[in-house]
């Protein structure tokens, strides 16, 4: 078991786990529309499947928000 911090909250996960799998586990709606940071560095979406997570990693999902005028 390992702890990964997703948007600041600890999640217990089984390793090995790739970033793509974590995104799937978290049921991210429209993964194509999310921007992902691993330990405060942006990760290109092409690399998600190649990155293996480690205990204590911080992952942030950043979502597009339009809205405002209209």
């Amino acid at each position: 078991m390992a702890n990964i911090y997703v948007n600041g909250e600890a999640q217990e996960v089984n390793l090995p786990l790739s970033l793509s799998e974590l995104i799937r586990l978290n049921k991210v709606v429209q993964p194509d529309m999310v921007s992902v940071q691993l330990n405060e560095e942006f990760v290109d979406r092409n690399d998600w499947k190649n990155i293996q997570l480690k205990d204590g990693d911080n992952v942030d999902f950043l979502y597009f928000m339009g809205g405002g005028s209209k």
Partner: protein
């Protein structure tokens, strides 16, 4: 040095009383020129607070006229203003709040043909737009001419905002390019709780005033997000990305881009 009138000392007394602002800070506010892009849900509270604070010159750009469905959140427009150009309605309220403020109105949309010319007239830009093409346009134009700006976005019960200064993370560092048209709903499709536009707008107005007075720390290299359903606020550290297409060390974007809007948005947009 501005000679404050008795009336101005009285009007701005609550700023002047603040140790971090004082007469010097108020003078900086009064010399400031701010462009507010969009006179809608976010632009309304931003313009009202900046006018009340005594910002010297406020530019407002928006091609739309006031619609009845705007009044649920666009608090600068009143029922009597339905059908009136938003920039005219906003100008009237700003003048009523504070006759000292000079107002420039642009009844048009910001696009690649006018963005640089308009933005260069101001010291700080506030993004209060409802769509991704213009959010990226503001970002790229401000990075190109080295202007600071405040980004704001809302959707349903959520909001996000950050402040960009030259050299700090930009919108493209976080989101490389606009989502495909229609992939992310806009407020006109998904709805928004009106007060959330006010929450984001007042944070952006506070950041603008902090920028000019130099008080505290700005939301640079940070993305503030909140969920009004739980009232949880979170500040995510974000870094300038060296491979960013506009502000990285080898930028690949050398001109402004007019991204396509979703067809359904476009219809709404021209309403």
């Amino acid at each position: 040095m501005i000679d404050f009138t008795e009336e101005q000392i009285q009007r701005y007394s609550r700023h002047i009383l603040l140790q971090d602002v004082g007469v010097e800070g108020q003078e900086k506010i009064m010399n400031a020129r701010v462009l507010v892009v969009g006179a809608g849900g976010i632009g309304a509270p931003v313009s009202l607070y900046l006018a009340a604070a005594g910002i010297g010159r406020i530019g407002i750009i928006d091609a739309d006229v006031v619609d009845l469905s705007n009044l649920q959140r666009q608090v600068i427009h009143f029922t009597k203003d339905v059908g009136v150009p938003k920039v005219k309605s906003a100008e009237e309220k700003i003048k009523a709040i504070n006759p000292d403020v000079k107002v420039d109105t642009y009844q048009e949309f910001l696009d690649s043909s006018n963005a640089l010319d308009i933005i260069k007239e101001y010291d700080f830009v506030v993004d209060g737009t409802d769509n991704f093409p213009v959010k990226f346009l503001i970002n790229d134009a401000c990075v190109m001419v080295g202007k600071p700006f405040s980004h704001g976005g809302i959707l349903r019960f959520n909001g996000q905002t950050f402040t960009h200064l030259p050299g700090t993370a930009c919108y493209r560092c976080m989101f490389k390019e606009p989502p495909p048209a229609g992939a992310v709903p806009t407020c006109s499709q998904a709805g928004v709780l009106g007060a959330i536009a006010g929450m984001i707008g007042t944070i952006q107005a506070a950041e603008t005033l902090k920028y000019f007075t130099g008080v505290g720390e700005l939301l640079t290299n940070k993305l503030l997000t909140f969920d009004a359903k739980t009232m949880q606020f979170r500040t995510v550290a974000v870094k300038h990305r060296d491979t960013c297409a506009i502000c990285g060390s080898h930028p690949t974007i050398d001109h402004l881009i007019d991204y396509e809007q979703a067809a359904c948005d476009l219809k709404q947009h021209r309403k």
